[in-house]
Amino acid sequence: MIRFILRRSGSLILLLIAVSFITFTLFQLGPADPASAACGQECTPERVAEARVALGMDQPFLVQYADYMRGLVAPRMIGAPGAESVCQWPCLGKSFQTNEDVSDIIGRSLPYTLSMAIGALVLWTVSGVGLGLLAALRKGSATDKFIVGAASVGVSLPIPVTGLFLLLVFVNQLHLLPFTTNEIASPLGPQGPWAWVLNYLLPWIALAVLFSASYIRVTRTNMIETFGEDFIRTARAKGLAPRTVTFKHGVRAGITPVVTMLGMDIGLLLGGAVLTEQIFSVPGLGFTAVRAAISGDLPVTMAITMLAAFFVIVANVVVDLAYAAIDPRVRLQ
């Protein structure tokens, strides 16, 4: 167990280095010119050159990369000679746009993304697994057909459609919910948890409609297969109550593929739900990453890309650990 986690942490670091190098390279090859973007409206070639020096972009590519990576281990100085400022550890660089520490930007955006991800996750897991299980238990019935039909509709609805539809109905027409505000980033804030729920309810629903559709299908298929297993017949032959047969014997065995999906989706979502954040104007990681990429803000783009990769890789490890916890035949080595 400990050895497994240590080994996976080692490969996590190697993967992150690879991801950072690829992102850095892609950025160099791309058309973005951060220096002229940073120097503002009245730009002279001299000022662009100054800005280039200030951003460190006058250095060779590999030197820039090495400087950046050094910041991940120790604090470093950033800025034009004579006007340098300290970038505290862990230094992810300073924004080319605002000269703010990237770690501060991440720290500000992450709570929004977490708020969106957590609620959406709970909502789609409960509805997806619940409806999938119901469909499997009532296989072939009208309920089953309705749920499967709704799932195929849900999976084909893109976020902009559901998102805008929800906004139109619940905010514009019915005035039941407020438009998402940036002032609430956590359930522990001054407005309290209920305001947090109301604030994020629509993005949660939009994400849940999309995600729960595939959870319904995967849960249904796997549960139908599991309910046909011999050990379910054994459980019934013992005289166990239907609830025990379904949940203790059935769901425990049939749920593993859903755990895998869940792990991957959490990892992806924590890197920022770009479309959902755009539509509901939630300044989370996805929203910030889009702004940064458009304006050629390399340090911010790098940091969010690496953070997203980090979440996906960690989610993978967590899935493996969860498998070992669920299935005694799985050994971590």
Partner: protein, 347 residues
Amino acid sequence: MTQLQPSTPATEQEAIPFLDVRNLSVKFPTDDGLVSAVNGMDFSLQRGQTLGIVGESGSGKSVTSQALMGLLKGTSAQVSGQALFQGRDLVTLPESGMRRLRGRNIGMIFQDPLSALHPFYTVGHQIAEAYLVHNSATRKQARAAAVEMLGRVGIPSPEQRFDEYPHHFSGGMRQRAMIAMALICEPELLIADEPTTALDVTVQAQILDLMAELQAETNSALILITHDLGVVAEVCDSVLVMYGGQCVESGAVDEIFYDTRHPYTLGLLKSMPTLNSSSGRLSPIPGQPPSLLDLPAGCIFSSRCEYAALAGDGVCREQRPALQAENGHGTRCHLSGPQITTIRNSR
């Protein structure tokens, strides 16, 4: 309907049977039509007796056992007829009542112990669970009962084995654990659905001995479903031969083996490998079993029966023979007794 009591010799005093199955039928609706898996089964059984149900794959053996166990309730299967178990009809009994019988009064052992045991729970937990559901006991008492049962079915160091998972057990050990699970509440009736098919031959004998031993201890009745005639000869008191969802021959074990009355049973016996067979080849029954979607109007076995012509006038193809019993030995064939005797002696 012919009265048939294969397990009770005619001289013994007629008691109310412990299990009495009358005209049991099971049909499954499918997209292609109604599959008649079991068609009018009749048999009865007393405590302490062993009935073997023999037949090839798809003959309805397992479906019969599942119908008795009430495992078809809640599925699309249509079960009709009567199955009186200690006076209660297992066919009409609602699921809630059936659930109280399962495990406590009727235990069941399945063919493949690896897939029949839950892979995520320890063997001991699964046995204790069967105890807890029918007894008001603490987990500690259930554990003690399960450990004792594991010991009784011959699992060494049961206290340690209790906490191991099915994949830690060998095939024979798993089947022993299944038997422990089925017998922990000491059911009066045990249904074993091909309990030795998935096991090595040497292990098969051990498992059969174990079952016979435990049956003798608890004086329970045993229905042994198998396609292995050797197993039947070894442990059964009476035999019921199934073909196409029907009982084609039934009677005491010696009668079936030494006074065979049905061509299908003759074919089964002939197809068994023997040590002194001269040709070195097996003698299969030619042809395929009938489609259960569309059973023939006449004798179900007629399309494969070498002797159908002997009955004359195509009667075998047109008319379904009734089950006729003589001294508790029943057969479903148009051929006369002397004809069968001639056929049997000619081989």
